[in-house]
Subunit: 293 residues, 2 copies
Amino acid sequence: MAPDLIEQIRDFNRFYTERLGLLTDRYLGSDRALGPSRLLWEIGDHRDVRELRDHLGLDSGYLSRLLRGLEEQDLVRVVPHPRDGRARIAELTEAGRRERDALDQRSRAGVVALLGGLSPEQQEELATAQNQVRRLLRLATITITPVATDDPEAWRCLKWYAAELARRFPEGYDQATLTRPEDLTGSLLLARERGEPVGCGAWIRLDPRTAEIRHLWIDSKARGLGLGRRLLHHLETDAAARGVDTFRLGTHHTLGEAIALYRSNGYHEIDSYGDSPYNQLSFEKHQPAVKSS
Amino acid sequence: MAPDLIEQIRDFNRFYTERLGLLTDRYLGSDRALGPSRLLWEIGDHRDVRELRDHLGLDSGYLSRLLRGLEEQDLVRVVPHPRDGRARIAELTEAGRRERDALDQRSRAGVVALLGGLSPEQQEELATAQNQVRRLLRLATITITPVATDDPEAWRCLKWYAAELARRFPEGYDQATLTRPEDLTGSLLLARERGEPVGCGAWIRLDPRTAEIRHLWIDSKARGLGLGRRLLHHLETDAAARGVDTFRLGTHHTLGEAIALYRSNGYHEIDSYGDSPYNQLSFEKHQPAVKSS
DNA sequence: AAGATTACCTGACCTAAGTCAGGTAATCTC
DNA sequence: GAGATTACCTGACTTAGGTCAGGTAATCTT
């Protein structure tokens, strides 16, 4: 990997850390410490204490003390959970809401001041470049791993996939059409973003040198990142490493993004080969088998 | 200002903070705290203690203690300054250098792992987008302020400007040609990045409705940001607010970037009007006088 | 209904990071 | 050469942010 590229990324990280320092210093302003401010913000209007603990990654003792502190200042009320006697819910009081809004306002003001130094076009350019950075960093940190054919997380994805097809196909989609675990003769891949499943894909072996790509699906919150392409590529190299040099797949007229993805990845349309009623279009691609890197 | 643009910027800041958290957690790795690690890094091979204090913004007592700690671990040696008996210099020992290199290696490894999830083209895209973000944020945080005509910081800039012209003009440049403070009948503007002067520009009044732009200069470390344009624009609105509607300036064949800047800002070439031997080209622009925003 | 688990709290303790007030020696300014 | 300033150090203190070991009550599991 190009060393200067690495240095450039690190340099940007250093730069941004420094800039963020300036912004959050300003954002603070109040004499409240960072912890309580962040908590105030995270509570929103009301939130499970348990959820807060998970989300902020805090020790239960520490969170408890933080909440007590905010309660003493009358910014927060901690009330019993209506359905679980053990659990509790933190909610902002009127004063707490005012405080949170003030914090919010201060944070906005910092950004407004920053943008004031730029022309409207430059502001747009900034937003565009930031979105690009975010998109690529999200994509880079999503992990793709092979999982067991009956992996519960992967099956949650497959269910979502089926539900989406049912919504999008005019004729609906029968969940029973999903490939059963015992028929997944190739691999089942699961994509996770920060631990959360956000996509899946599988291939099955049609014959020793032919694989069929199936059930390629990306959660809506992870679309537009280029994850579909990455997942498809991963499936191909995975299959290629096991002797496959021909890939096939079937898809549906309504799945425009998928069709575009296949075409732009070297797939060409062929005559229908399977018997699935949903496979209105069939595609194929040849590629010499090589070991995955 | 567009509210969703503001939210987008804030959202990116939150996103990046979170990502950086992940990166620096990894970067740590060692059981050394963040403070000493950062200090180790900043010392480089050797550095004035005083410089470290300024640069890291640390209390002198705190820094002293940090250094003592590193000295006890044999990572750092603090030796007297050769030319100033009060001052001292911190330098890494052999072990300190190894430790710093190990930190560095760990930080690189984190970035390499991150980039591993992207194709080479995407890596390039990421670097490009990050540079764009950085460029715009730098530009946005540079302040431009009018200063006294004999302001010492502005005059440092003017001296640098003169020195650069002396290097670039085949015939050299006589510093005495710089406009004297008493002749700066318009304004002298100074651009600062994080407090440091990085550019200047002035206008003088030729007649009640005509200004001459002079000595527009950007430090090499702030070039390519679009600061020249911003500074020029600032000079124009400043002059316009004081009744000027005609701008003139003279420049030199060797200053290609400046000539391009003037042309792209509505200046057109006119016959020579002044008597400066360095003004090989003259430009003019009309613009109705309006109050600055 | 017993035993395990979960949700939260309390008290005791700890470290990193920093502030502040003063002190010493060297150096600069006049 | 006196007085101010600078560079650094030491000791005393504070705060934020956190860990850990237990305890209580509610709930889930079998």
